[in-house]
């Protein structure tokens, strides 16, 4: 599914990720943990080819295709979906307009409007989202919780094979976190994607249970283990790894 080998990433000429390696198989859930500033989010942004993040060494492959040199939209169309900790607002552009364009970009023939509306309505019902979200501008005037639910709408519509969750728990209260996490787990049970979760906390891992947990320090993984590793960190913090 996703293999990252010897990855180095620079941001503004500063090397944030150094010799990072990760191997995720189909349907696996991995959690990447670590204190602030160790480069957890940088991994997601480098995978998605965010413009300020420059890959200076290493190879990222997705389903055996090297994706380092692809554009962000091409990476997305392969089936990689990224939810950032603070999803961007785009004034004046509705979810429906964006989703229709995104779905058309994935198809040879344009999506029939009736088919599109039907799918939108089904998904809104499924994730218990008011249908007026479709006609709201992307994340505009939405609370932290609403933004994450809005991203779930995009997730269910675009049906990715790999989900990158960058601090999904940021800005969410316990109830909102449960709602968002359970929708992701429902998607996981139905579509069996792989998931990479970036987090500081164990709480989200109680909802989205990882197969593997990795600790990041100085830009690379220094320890990997099963879910119990996250519990250890919950008890003793990251002191041991600083």
């Amino acid at each position: 599914m996703l293999t990252i080998k010897n990855l180095n990433v620079q941001v503004l000429d500063q090397e944030i990720i150094k010799d990072f390696n990760l191997n995720m198989k189909d349907g696996e859930i991995h959690a990447l943990m670590g204190p602030n500033g160790v480069g957890k989010s940088t991994i997601c942004k480098a995978i998605m080819k965010s413009p300020e993040y420059q890959i200076t060494n290493g190879i990222i492959t997705f389903n055996e295709k090297v994706i380092n040199n692809l554009n962000t939209d091409e990476i997305s169309k392969l089936g990689i979906y990224y939810i950032s900790q603070n999803p961007t607002t785009i004034e004046g552009v509705t979810n429906a307009e964006m989703l229709r364009m995104a779905l058309n970009a994935r198809r040879e023939e344009k999506l029939n409007i009736f088919e599109f509306n039907k799918k939108c309505n089904e998904i809104c019902e499924k994730i218990n989202l008011p249908k007026n979200f479709l006609h709201r501008a992307i994340n505009d005037g939405m609370s932290g919780g609403e933004r994450k639910k809005n991203e779930l709408l995009h997730l269910w519509m675009l049906e990715p094979k790999l989900i990158l969750l960058d601090e999904l728990d940021s800005g969410l209260d316990i109830d909102a976190l449960k709602i968002v996490s359970s929708s992701i787990m429902e998607y996981y049970k139905e579509k069996k994607p792989s998931i990479l979760i970036i987090t500081h906390h164990n709480q989200i891992l109680e909802e989205i249970k990882p197969d593997w947990v990795h600790i990041l320090k100085n830009g690379h993984i220094i320890k990997s283990g099963e879910k119990s590793l996250a519990l250890e960190i919950e008890k003793s913090g990251f002191k041991e790894y600083l």
């Binding site: 998605m48 939209d73 997305s76 785009i90 004046g92 552009v93 970009a105």
Partner: protein, 219 residues
């Protein structure tokens, strides 16, 4: 589309509704009653003066796409007039507009909105001058100019207000926005290619203006 031809220097009209086609280099029209101008077809360097007579109203829309122009438009309001105007300019060439609005009497209400999108080699200069005459009462003037620059073209706004009366509500705003890399990345991360993402952002800019007030004029 109902076309209203302006082929004389001076003309008086009442209750017009349609697209104004200006054939004189310098023209002056006087309007009374309720008027609606759906668009203005005008040559590249013309001057158009519109005088709204007492109690008249004007709903003015103008859309200029990819045109090279150097225009001067003057709007004179006598008393108790009501103006709502939205000019939309989308250009990849040189576009210059001097827009002057003179509130000469009392109780005029004017809302003026310009929205500008420039791309490629576009170079746009919009000067707006709102003038409220001495000893006038209860005038309201609102001018707003919004710009979106796609790429590296130039947009310059020069909004001016000259207020010679103490009894007036007047404001002007000018904002210019460039394509935001964060927005672009976000849309690309959904699988939308760069050109289409820019198109969506531009569409979003226009949609916002419609909900804000520009669209009111279109009804």
């Amino acid at each position: 589309m109902n076309k209203i031809i302006v082929d004389e220097y001076e003309k008086n009209w009442s209750q017009i509704n349609g697209c104004l086609e200006v054939k004189k280099e310098d023209a002056h029209i006087h309007l009374s009653g309720n008027n609606k101008i759906t668009d203005i077809l005008i040559n590249s360097s013309n001057k158009l003066t519109i005088t709204l007579e007492k109690n008249a109203s004007l709903n003015l829309n103008a859309n200029w796409f990819k045109e090279k122009k150097d225009l001067e438009i003057i709007l004179n309001c006598e008393s108790n007039t009501n103006v709502k105007s939205h000019c939309y300019i989308e250009t990849d060439k040189h576009f210059q507009l001097n827009f002057k609005i003179n509130l000469e009497g009392d109780q005029n209400k004017c809302e003026i909105l310009f929205s500008v999108v420039t791309e490629k080699e576009g170079n746009c200069l919009i000067k707006t001058m709102g003038k409220i005459a001495k000893n006038t009462k209860e005038n309201e003037l609102s001018e707003e100019i919004k710009g979106l620059s796609l790429g590296n073209p130039s947009i310059t706004f020069i909004p001016e207000l000259i207020v010679d009366s103490m009894d007036v509500i007047a404001n002007h705003n000018a904002t210019i926005k460039c394509i935001d890399e964060t927005e672009l990345f976000y849309l690309k991360s959904k699988g939308i290619k760069k050109e289409d993402a820019i198109l969506l952002i531009k569409q979003g800019f226009l949609n916002q203006l419609k909900t804000q007030g520009g669209g009111k004029n279109e009804s």
